[in-house]
Subunit: 205 residues, 3 copies
């Protein structure tokens, strides 16, 4: 499923270190699929509990994708600056074409993931949040409290998922059919899905 | 239903006057439930017509809640500065955990309630507006013109409802099931609903 | 259907040239219905392909409206500055009460129509985007990638439609029932629809 590419990682980082300006990993290794999974949780990052949410995302993406992809996995506390820095690093340095976050999307004081996402994106995609809330509303009326969103930073799509494992599965299943085509549109790598597991949509050209 | 607590009000205001910094009424009287109802209407505030909308909100909240709560009721014109000042006063000085507005959410020049709400909130909850519009769309296609939203200021939830009494009832019924848990999440007081009238949702811990 | 009013146009422009400040064409000729249709597409504006999308909008509005209206039609590339200038000219100088755009609402680098729209509007109407995405979701799961919105500039409603002709028809049919009343609310001219073709809604006063 998700496979480490440490040697390639080093090559890319070294290659990039010699670049100036806005060169992107995607331009250097256009065939590589790097995906970031970021668990945003004070308690998970402090070791108070195991990060089940991140594992659910990794397992689900692993089931959905038959393309080989490289996982960039982070577990960080609910600090807006740190979330922003992590998203920027994953997109600008690690060359992720997709970054999926979990946690920090509720109304509580420490929930700042949507604000951090908006701060690092050049354009927002409100349809992701609308669809995830509509999906979660099938299960709980408190779905209207979740503030998940999605946005574009350079050649990467950043998607906020909810914090709870069951809600993650529901929401990722709802929005994933649009994700590979979105990454096509922003000149990212081609994500090949497993059609026995998930049906994605790409319009005929 | 809504009961005046003028003596306690005075105690709190006096206690607060001795505080410096960010002390909140909720910390002083955590058992008190103060709810603001703000009618925003040039005509109602000028006495051109009776404020039926505010009364519908007060009656509906009175039917939904079995907790004792204190009403802070205001009728003001559609002036953005005044709306912002009123929301700030209700949350910061009066210690409201919930402020419900009616009026000023349409597309007309004088409709500025969502802008005032966003200006005083630290985070927005787009799911409230989405749900209210989806609910109102069952009745009128012009529901897409309403710009209601909701947001968090400190330990308070601010919710914009539409202006018309019939739409108020529909929208409040749609979003109320999520409100008590939202106030739990922002460390507000426990709102006990009347389960014979409205079904609210709190996830099992 | 859409009829040129060049003589009146010149009168208005001349009249306006003598005005200072915020005089609007609507105040000068309140009975005139000017509607802007703006195709935003690098390829259509370069002549790479014919602008079918703009034609679909013009034909659809022509079928929906029995009022006489004047078309202001533009085909421009996906440049945010130019989109903003065009929207401003259509509203402030040409006196359009309605401007409908097509194109530039996706996630790609050159898609900047929603940003340009938000930049020139004083208030946004998120319900239009929500409804168009919900409508398009009946056909394709990638509808969540479209970022269409709508907003108010002075006495004009600006609506972003998607780029593809089939999606345009679906979305315009979904939101048009609310448009004439919206224009009433912002003191624009009265748009009379053809009730055999489209059903619009105006609440009884």
């Amino acid at each position: 499923m998700a496979e480490g590419c440490d040697i390639l990682n080093n090559i890319v980082v070294n290659a990039r270190a010699e670049c100036t300006g806005q060169a992107h990993r995607q331009e250097l290794f256009p065939f590589m699929i790097n995906i970031g999974v970021v668990t945003i949780s004070d308690r998970a990052s402090n070791g108070v509990y195991e990060d089940l949410s991140g594992k659910v995302i990794i397992d689900t993406l692993g089931a959905y994708l038959v393309s080989t992809w490289n996982l960039e996995y982070r577990v960080i506390p609910d600090e807006q600056d740190l979330i922003e820095q992590t998203l920027i690093e994953l997109v600008d340095v690690r060359g992720c074409c997709l970054v999926v976050t979990t946690g920090g999307t509720g109304p509580a004081l420490r929930d700042v993931t949507p604000e951090a996402t908006a701060a690092v994106c050049s354009k927002m995609l409100p349809g992701f949040g609308e669809m995830m809330r509509a999906e979660s509303l099938k299960y709980v009326p408190t779905a209207i409290l979740s503030r998940q969103t999605a946005g574009i930073r350079d050649q990467a799509l950043i998607v906020n998922l909810p914090g709870k494992p069951s809600a993650i599965t529901q929401c990722l299943q709802a929005v994933f059919p649009a994700i590979p085509y979105c990454i096509d549109l922003i000149n990212g790598p081609y994500l090949q899905e497993n059609p026995d597991i998930i049906k994605v949509f790409r319009p005929k050209q």
